[in-house]
Amino acid sequence: MLLDLHTHSIKSDDGRAKVENYCQWIKSKNLPIDGFVLTEHRQFDFESDYSPLAEKFGLVILKGAEVETEYGHVLVFGVTEGLYKEFDFADIKNPLEMVLEMSNKHGAQAVPCHPGRPKVGMFAHTENLGVPKGVEIVEIYNGGSRDNEDQIAIDNAEKLGYKGTGGSDSHIVSHIGRCATRFPHDIATIDDLVAALKAGDFEAVNFKHAD
């Protein structure tokens, strides 16, 4: 099963895609992904129920978040009300180690994203701040990466023994599915996704040059 683990909708300040249009796009273009995770910036969307869309289009639609830390941006999968109360999702300077610790405490999984990117990627800060404790997974393929950002992510992840995920980081409809993460088993719920991530049972996939 292939899931795009990093997407944004109009719920994000810089997102321009409606979720239904993502679904239409995936189906009309026969993209190989089976679903996606909405990781809105600096928030978690408790209200929206995408299950009717998921059923209509035969896709898995899950929700996560993209929060910000002193090491850059971090995806959080498995957000609960308890986790949401632990720190301010809107804060742009959350301590990464705290985000990782609180995520684990509440059964969630935090994944630093586009870590090879200047300023907002983790590996841009490890020289000055040191390698943070508690990181197990980083995003190694990001659909919005420029230059050698993905390669920096891959090289550092290998050096530090991190597993790697993939996600498009799409903000407009036609960018979804550029990168994804392959799981050997079906993922139907956010709990399934977190369990598969914690088990390390996945691999990142890059479709960026398959257009």
């Binding site: 239409q24 796009w25 009309s28 919005g144 420029r146 407009i172 409809v173 960026k208 040059h209």
Partner: protein
């Protein structure tokens, strides 16, 4: 074939690729037109690669509003009667002058009741890296 009315448009269809003029001369001329070049012609980020590099930038920029103009031009080439309701852009990285860029557009929503078409727009450089993305909402005759 140019689109004349809403029923000519299909979900997922691609607009013809568009190659904007990103030469330094054109960018500088535009910057001058909109008052971003001083009267004495002093070098800055819009008319000089060297001046831009002194500011720590990778090279001279194409002004963002010129890039938006190219997006509009592309849409009108595709659908001459289109009334552009909104062009909503996110500038991820600068469009560097004298680097070849291309613009792609695809139809991602059709609202038949309102006569509106939504188009995804992406400006990429010669390495295929996204510099600008956004959406346009356009009205076409029914």
């Amino acid at each position: 074939m140019a689109k004349e009315k809403l029923s000519d448009v299909e979900f997922g269809e691609e607009l013809s690729a568009f190659e904007p003029d990103t030469t330094l001369a054109t960018g500088a001329e535009f910057a001058d037109l909109v008052g971003w070049i001083r009267e004495d012609g002093a070098k800055n980020r819009f008319n000089s690669h060297e001046a831009a590099k002194k500011e720590g930038l990778p090279g001279a920029f194409i002004p963002g509003i010129l890039s938006q103009g190219y997006l509009v031009s592309m849409i009108h080439q595709w659908a001459p009667p289109a009334e552009i309701k909104k062009v909503d852009t996110v500038f991820r990285s600068p469009v560097i002058a004298d680097v070849k860029h291309s613009i792609t557009g695809v139809v991602t929503d059709i609202d038949e009741d309102e006569g509106l078409v939504e188009i995804d727009l992406t400006v990429v450089n010669d390495k295929g890296e996204t510099r600008i993305f956004g959406t346009a909402s356009v009205r076409l005759p029914q």
